[in-house]
């Protein structure tokens, strides 16, 4: 009887998602694995990477804001933001198969800018065959369910604000952070994603951003820099003595971020395909090229002329970011070139642009504007140079190969397209970040987005009543329901009783 009931319920579900004839278990297994890898880059990856890079008194706050930001994004993601990035165009119903801005009216422009907000909570919206309606015609049909697409894209949406958390660490109020993050996801990230990935304007122009050199890293670098300027600097003393408190934590976090990137770039074809594998090995080639380039530059051109571990970590991050836009569009030689060239550019910026007064004035605590902003900007432009048309992302339904062609293969125009997309992200995200934080600042009773100086002097203990490395000497449990004097007299009575 029970069996029969189960059978009947199954039969009652719409055929469109109950039969799952479209399901490719290999694709789905890889998609969920890749998504989990990317999630691990945030928690604990960035939590311990940043946690190790800050002073001891900030480690709890830093790790905590990483976890809290990750949580805050998922709520808005499933309630409205996913569909703003990957859903249907706002003002038109029906099939927007090849919808493309032709210089038409404002609603047409809007349809190219952001998707229509909608939840992703129903059984159907989770279990149906995966789809990104505005780009479907250019892609083969997905072998993964929608839930896999939503979660995979969530972990990207989540890591982006967590990257630029690095710009505002060591002073931003906890409350400000957890309110700002979902707003930024809604107004900045969803737009970035729709413009380049969801079938918006730059997707139709042929701009390439394989896994988020622009949508994520340029966005994080820009927003972090603007946020750092609006929030204001850390304590003068904290800026001057910004020594990392634990390099072993940095090693753990850095390692998780590096290998987690196999999912970051390897998951983006949405198929467990040859291009997924290409993207994974390209990612690692660009990363080692950038890491070694940075270390060599440190050894021969830096003042100390010594290889440093934290220099290697910077180079590693730059390589990972650099290859992100082009991981599945370049060949192996291209990957090595992208990593080495971008590492040189960011090394120069890190060491020389940082001396410019304007850059010094803004307290971007972890230098996210360099290792993500500039690295992402040039990574995307280098796609325009190195994209190899014979590296095929996938074959469309019609059988034609989807790939991009860079300048060295005779299409210099790709660089211009990349630059256009980059400028759009810089301007929009800079503006959105500035407006949200300025409004929040005006609404705060204190008109400040950061803690008062006496709290900043103490850090974790003043903000959370916790510290990274507590000492049990002198600590006495305060039992609930007992006043302090009651505890003391009870203890005294025990001692007295014991000695009697």
């Amino acid at each position: 009887m029970i069996h029969l009931l189960v059978h009947l319920q199954a039969a009652a579900a719409p055929a469109s998602y109950s039969d799952q004839a479209w399901l490719n278990t290999g694709d789905n297994a890889w998609q969920l694995t890749a998504a989990t890898f990317v999630a691990l880059m945030s928690v604990p990856g960035l939590a311990v990477l940043f946690g190790g890079l800050v002073q001891k008194k900030w480690v709890v706050n830093t790790m905590f804001m990483t976890f809290a930001g990750f949580a805050a994004v998922l709520i808005v993601w499933v309630l409205w933001a996913y569909n703003m990035g990957f859903g249907s165009a706002w003002f038109h119903s029906g099939n927007y198969a090849n919808y493309k801005w032709t210089g038409g009216d404002l609603s047409e422009l809007f349809n190219n800018f952001v998707g229509k907000p909608a939840t992703t909570l129903s059984a159907f919206s989770l279990e149906k065959q995966g789809t990104i309606p505005q780009v479907d015609p250019g892609m083969p049909a997905f072998g993964i369910p929608q839930a896999s697409v939503i979660y995979f894209q969530f972990v990207f949406a989540a890591i982006t604000p967590l990257l630029f958390l690095g710009s505002v660490l060591g002073r931003i109020k906890f409350k400000v952070w957890v309110i700002f993050v979902p707003l930024w996801t809604t107004f900045a990230y969803a737009v970035n994603a729709f413009l380049l990935w969801g079938g918006g304007f730059w997707a139709h122009q042929g701009a390439g951003d394989f896994s988020g050199g622009y949508v994520i890293h340029l966005a994080a670098g820009t927003s972090g820099f603007v946020a750092a300027a609006v929030v204001g600097p850390r304590l003068k003393r904290d800026r001057e003595k910004a020594l990392p408190h634990s390099l072993p934590l940095v090693a753990i976090g850095g390692g998780i971020v590096w290998l987690g990137w196999n999912g970051f770039n390897g998951g983006d074809p949405y198929f467990a395909s040859a291009d997924a594998a290409t993207a994974v090995i390209n990612t690692n080639m660009a990363t080692v090229a950038a890491l070694l380039t940075w270390v060599i530059l440190d050894m021969y051109l830096s003042k100390a002329k010594k290889p440093t571990f934290l220099g290697a970590i910077n180079g590693m991050v730059v390589g990972l970011v650099a290859i992100t836009p082009s991981a599945g569009y370049v060949n192996g030689a291209g990957a090595l070139g992208v990593g080495a060239i971008d590492s040189c550019i960011v090394w120069l910026a890190w060491n020389y642009l940082s001396r410019v007064n304007f850059m010094k004035k803004v307290d971007d605590a972890m230098g996210i504007v360099y290792t993500h902003g500039i690295a992402g900007l040039f990574g995307g432009l280098l796609l325009g140079v190195f994209a190899d048309p014979t590296v095929v992302e996938y074959r469309s339904v019609g059988g034609s190969a989807i790939s991009l062609k860079g300048a060295i293969y005779g299409h210099p125009g790709q660089i211009g397209i990349q630059l256009g997309a980059a400028l759009t992200v810089i301007i929009w995200d800079g503006l959105v970040t500035f407006v949200i934080l300025t409004v929040m600042k005006a609404l705060m009773p204190s008109h400040s987005l950061k803690y008062a100086d006496d709290i900043l002097e103490i850090g974790d203990l003043a903000i959370h009543d916790e510290e990274g490395y507590p000492d049990d000497r002198g600590a006495t449990r305060v039992l609930p329901g007992y006043s302090e004097s009651a505890v003391h007299s009870a203890a005294a009575a025990t001692v007295a009783g014991g000695s009697a």
């Binding site: 009543d465 916790e466 000492d471 006495t476 449990r477």
Partner: protein
């Protein structure tokens, strides 16, 4: 010869070091210590359990100096470590019988 010992708030150390360099101090020893005075401890909360933590982190400074400069040293520390709030710390002096510089075997005020 005098040993000046001071227990101060950790973040006052830079200001104290700066002030002492103007007095012409040749060296000092610092250590991280914990303790309590009139300043109350603080509360920490772990997994919902509240703890009263009695000892507060401080920095202890020790400076060997001559009897003539001891007052200047005390004054420099006192002024530079003062925030006016409870918990600024204390300074005390003790007379020292002898001092030896290990490298040369020199003793007395010349070894300071």
């Amino acid at each position: 010869m005098i040993l000046v010992t001071a227990v101060i708030k950790p973040h006052a150390l830079d200001a104290v070091r700066e002030a002492l360099s103007h007095v012409g101090i040749a060296g000092m020893t610092i250590s991280e210590v914990q303790g309590f005075g009139r300043q109350r401890g603080h509360t920490e909360v772990y997994r919902g359990a509240e703890y009263k933590v009695e000892y507060v982190p401080k920095v202890k400074i020790e400076i060997l100096t001559t009897a003539e400069t001891a007052d200047d040293v005390v004054e420099a520390i006192s002024k530079s470590a003062r925030s006016g709030k409870i918990g600024d710390g204390k300074i005390w002096t003790t007379t020292v019988d002898n001092v030896t510089r290990i490298r040369t075997g020199e003793t007395g005020p010349g070894a300071i």
